[in-house]
């Protein structure tokens, strides 16, 4: 299974980078999302995957009696998901704003000609 996930992560990263290199701003955003998903999955995988043993203590016990999935990567990813949502929400609205202003989705239209020669 790890092998499958590794391949999936590779694909997510590759697709994310490819989308980041596009000129369209919407594609850039999608690329960012893909890259974020890839990174989350990578952390998840590297923390070790365990099937069917969530890190929740049995309601009758005070301590774990069985093996359990590593809670740290989960805590990290949870934070990452939430933060990336903040980023995406802001980026989406910003994109909308840019579109209203310059009426284009093309990143190159944002470039202002720099001052030539000093």
């Amino acid at each position: 299974m790890e092998l499958l996930l590794v391949i999936l992560i590779g694909i997510l990263y590759a697709a994310g980078i490819f989308m980041l290199l596009r000129r369209s701003m919407v594609k850039l955003l999608i690329g960012l999302t893909l890259l974020g998903n890839g990174a989350n999955l990578l952390i998840f995988l590297l923390g070790g995957i365990t099937k069917g043993k969530p890190p929740v203590i049995d309601s009758a016990a005070k301590l774990f009696t069985d093996i359990y999935a590593d809670p740290i990567p989960q805590a990290l990813i949870l934070t990452a998901i939430v933060i990336s949502f903040g980023l995406q929400a802001f980026a989406i609205v910003l994109l909308k704003r840019v579109y209203v202003l310059i009426n284009s989705d093309d990143l190159d239209d944002l470039n202002t000609p720099e001052e030539e020669d000093i």
Partner: protein
């Protein structure tokens, strides 16, 4: 002593609030600072004469070896007295010269700053401290040279001076750090103790090169001399101060100071003799073609600096003593000539030597000053210049091998030209018939003619009674350079010998040249024909070439396209990571450690891959967004399978929200345009795939590493015991790492405020462009 050095900095700061009160007659008050410092340093003369040296130590950054270490010995004292003494006269002189100037306070502030920096250079014992002051002199002299900042030429000269001296300073820093690193201490006194090790080290040549370039740029040695004539754009008191006693002597000082550490080898001697020799001849030769008084003085200063470097290069006790004497001789007569020139310029409005004559009739005290200074520079008997010149010849004659002939010949020719230049600057404007247009000139305020007169008289007094200065100042200065006691009284009369004969030849030829040759614009035009070959011209074209290169380089690398930057960063990262990955050994996957694969997992991964494909290739924005959300839900399922219910829930919520937001906000955007051509797409695919592959390989490598679970175990064991919660992930977030979560909430709130304000913002019509 620290206070004496810092006083200039403090005073220059005081000019900011109080400077505006220092106008009119009150300006004389500014000279209290240098006069006070001069008195302070003069009080050390008896101690230094007895061979003592005063050290001061105050830790600053001990861990880096930078301390306020100051050392006052003969050499430092000579320079300190020159800096403060000539400084006092320049301060007084400027009070009259720049009377009523709107920026007089600024002038004094810069000058105080510069003086303090110079004092720091000559007193510092720690080379890094010395370097800091060295740079401060470059910076403050930049302000001084560009003092007339409404003049484009003036600004340009200041920039050239800063560029040349600053560039040299950069190399000097490298040299000094190298020295300190090798000898294990940044203190010059301690370096002297380990000098044999330094001289024997393989990097000795490099150290010398770096230090030499630093000293040569500062002291205007060929081929870096060209900033000095340009610096003549500054008001004359500044030129007098910078070029007689201070700024340009800093390089000479550095060489003299480091002589006991680095000097005495062939690597030291020959470069200095060659460069010093070229400079002294080049400067002297050029000086005779100039018609601008300050130009003459500038080139003769270059020549004098060449002589000093040359003498330090020879490195015998005689030559070092000659250098010490010549430093004083030159400072006295050159400052006097500059100040005289300043008055002439101020009163007549011209510095063209072909226009000036007969001024003795209207500016009599000044004529005396000019004459005495010219005589001293010519080295007539009973002037200080005579002793200086004698010592120079004696030093060149007492070298080994065939050198005496060559070096003495060089020195004689140089001195002939210098004599001519001195007469031109000090005698020519005052001799002859007074033109009608200058007859109305009146003698200016005493503050303007007394300082040059005093300096010129001192030049004669030291010459007639050398005992005034030899044991008290000059012998200790030479002692500090050689690091062994020197006690050689200066004599006016050495008897009939070769030196006297040479002096006679110099005098006769120099005077003959003065009588025979009249300065003319024609001569100037002739020498300027060679300008395209001059170092100034060559370096200027080099600068232009660098500039062009920089523009081209910037346009290629920094072209303003975000994705181009991104592409380069990714390619570089791929290469770097791949190199590390493959050089670290084989990549393998241990099959028995892998967990089994079920049909559900395969199905989910399949869906994910399909969704990614769709998100990337779709031409419809809506399809792409939906595909992205499918990817999110797929991730959700993976989290569910692998024991992360909290993640699954969060991902589910967030993903839903994102899609809603996407669709709501971006509903009316046009469909995707395919803006890239085929080649670009293929290139991007290759780069992206390479990056993905590298990440995947890193993932595989990391999977082979054992996982350290002590922290996880701590949280697992204590989640209920300490925090009374049974869901460990939640306990970590809200309890163990509660602060992190709080700040995360802050971040989200800020994003929310941003989103809200962007949505609410209504554009004005004018902004909708």
């Amino acid at each position: 002593m620290l206070f004496a050095i810092l006083a200039g900095f403090i005073v220059s700061l005081l000019y900011i609030p109080f400077g505006r009160f220092l106008k009119g007659r009150l300006a004389v008050l500014a000279s209290l600072l240098p006069i006070g410092l001069f008195t302070y340093f003069a009080a050390f003369i008896p101690d230094i004469q007895d061979g003592a040296s005063i050290a001061f130590h105050q830790p600053w950054v001990p861990s880096l070896g930078i301390n306020f270490d100051f050392q006052l010995d003969g050499l430092s004292l000579l320079f300190s007295l020159l800096i403060t003494g000539i400084g006092s006269l320049v301060f007084l002189y400027a009070a009259a010269y720049l009377k009523g100037h709107p920026y007089l306070d600024r002038f004094y502030a810069y000058l105080s700053l510069f003086m303090a920096a110079m004092l720091g250079v000559v007193l510092a014992d720690n080379v890094l401290l010395l370097f800091i002051f060295w740079e401060l002199t470059s910076i403050s002299s930049f302000f001084l040279i560009g003092f007339n900042n409404d003049n484009a030429d003036s600004r340009k000269s200041a920039l050239v001076a800063l560029g040349v001296t600053g560039g040299g300073g950069f190399l000097l820093m490298a040299g000094l750090i190298l020295m300190g690193h090798l000898s294990g201490s940044y203190s010059i006194q301690e370096m002297i103790a380990t000098n044999e090790y330094l001289k024997g080290h393989a990097l000795y040549g490099l150290i010398l090169l770096l230090v030499f370039v630093g000293a040569f740029t500062k002291s205007a040695q060929f081929p870096f001399h060209f900033w000095l004539p340009g610096a003549m754009k500054a008001p004359t008191p500044i030129s007098a101060y910078l070029h007689s006693a201070t700024m340009v002597k800093a390089g000479v000082y550095l060489l003299a100071r480091l002589y006991p550490v680095l000097g005495g080898t062939d690597y030291w001697t020959y470069p200095l003799i060659i460069i010093g020799g070229i400079t002294m001849l080049y400067g002297a030769f050029h000086s005779i073609f100039r018609t601008d008084l300050k130009g003459i003085l500038a080139y003769s200063t270059i020549s004098a600096l060449g002589i000093l470097v040359f003498l330090i290069g020879i490195g015998t006790p005689q030559s070092l003593l000659a250098a010490a004497v010549f430093i004083l001789v030159h400072a006295l007569y050159k400052a006097a000539l500059f100040l005289t020139t300043g008055v002439i310029d101020h009163e007549t409005g011209t510095r063209d030597v072909t226009q000036l004559s007969g001024l003795r009739k209207v500016l009599f005290p000044l004529a005396i000053a000019g004459l005495l200074a010219a005589l001293s520079s010519a080295g007539l008997p009973f002037t200080f210049g005579f002793i200086g010149k004698d010592l120079v010849y004696e030093a060149t004659l007492h070298t080994d091998g065939i050198l005496p002939l060559v070096l003495t010949g060089l020195a004689v020719v140089t001195n002939i030209f210098l004599l001519y230049a001195g007469l031109l600057a000090g005698l020519k404007p005052f001799a002859g018939r007074l033109p009608e247009r200058y007859s109305a000139i009146h003698l200016p305020h005493a503050l303007m003619w007394a300082p040059p007169l005093l300096l010129a008289i001192l030049g004669i007094a030291f010459g007639a009674f050398p005992a005034l200065a030899d044991a008290s100042l000059l012998n200790p200065a030479a002692t500090a350079m050689i690091n062994e006691a020197i006690d050689s009284p200066l004599k006016i009369w050495h008897g009939f010998n070769t030196v006297l004969l040479l002096s006679g030849i110099t005098l006769a030829l120099g005077v003959a040249l003065y009588l025979a040759r009249k300065p003319s614009a024609h001569g100037l035009a002739w020498i300027e024909r060679f300008n395209p070959l001059s170092p100034k011209h060559l370096i200027a074209s080099l600068t232009r070439a660098v500039h062009r290169f920089a523009i081209r380089y910037t346009r290629t690398l920094h072209n303003g396209f975000l994705r181009v930057y991104l592409l380069r960063i990714i390619i570089f990262a791929v290469l770097l990571l791949a190199f590390r990955l493959f050089s670290g050994g084989a990549i393998r996957l241990i099959p028995d450690q892998l967990s089994p694969v079920g049909i559900y997992e395969i199905a989910v991964v399949g869906i994910l891959v399909a969704a990614i494909y769709l998100a990337v290739t779709s031409t419809s924005r809506l399809t792409a967004v939906v595909a992205t959300s499918v990817i999110g839900y797929g991730m959700c399922l993976l989290f569910v399978f692998y024991s992360a219910p909290d993640l699954a829930m969060t991902q589910f919520t967030i993903d839903t929200l994102t899609v809603v937001l996407f669709v709501l906000v971006l509903f009316r955007l046009p469909s995707f345009l395919n803006l890239a051509n085929r080649g670009t797409r293929i290139r991007d695919w290759l780069v992206a795939s390479a990056f993905g592959a590298v990440i995947a390989l890193i993932g595989i490598q990391v999977l082979n590493q054992p996982i350290d679970d002590t922290i996880s175990k701590f949280y697992g064991d204590n989640a209920y015991v300490l925090a009374k919660g049974k869901n460990v992930v939640n306990v970590i977030l809200v309890d163990f790492r509660g602060f992190d979560t709080m700040f995360e909430i802050v971040v989200l709130s800020i994003a929310a405020i941003g989103v809200f304000s962007l949505l609410k913002l209504r554009l004005k019509a004018s902004e909708k462009e």
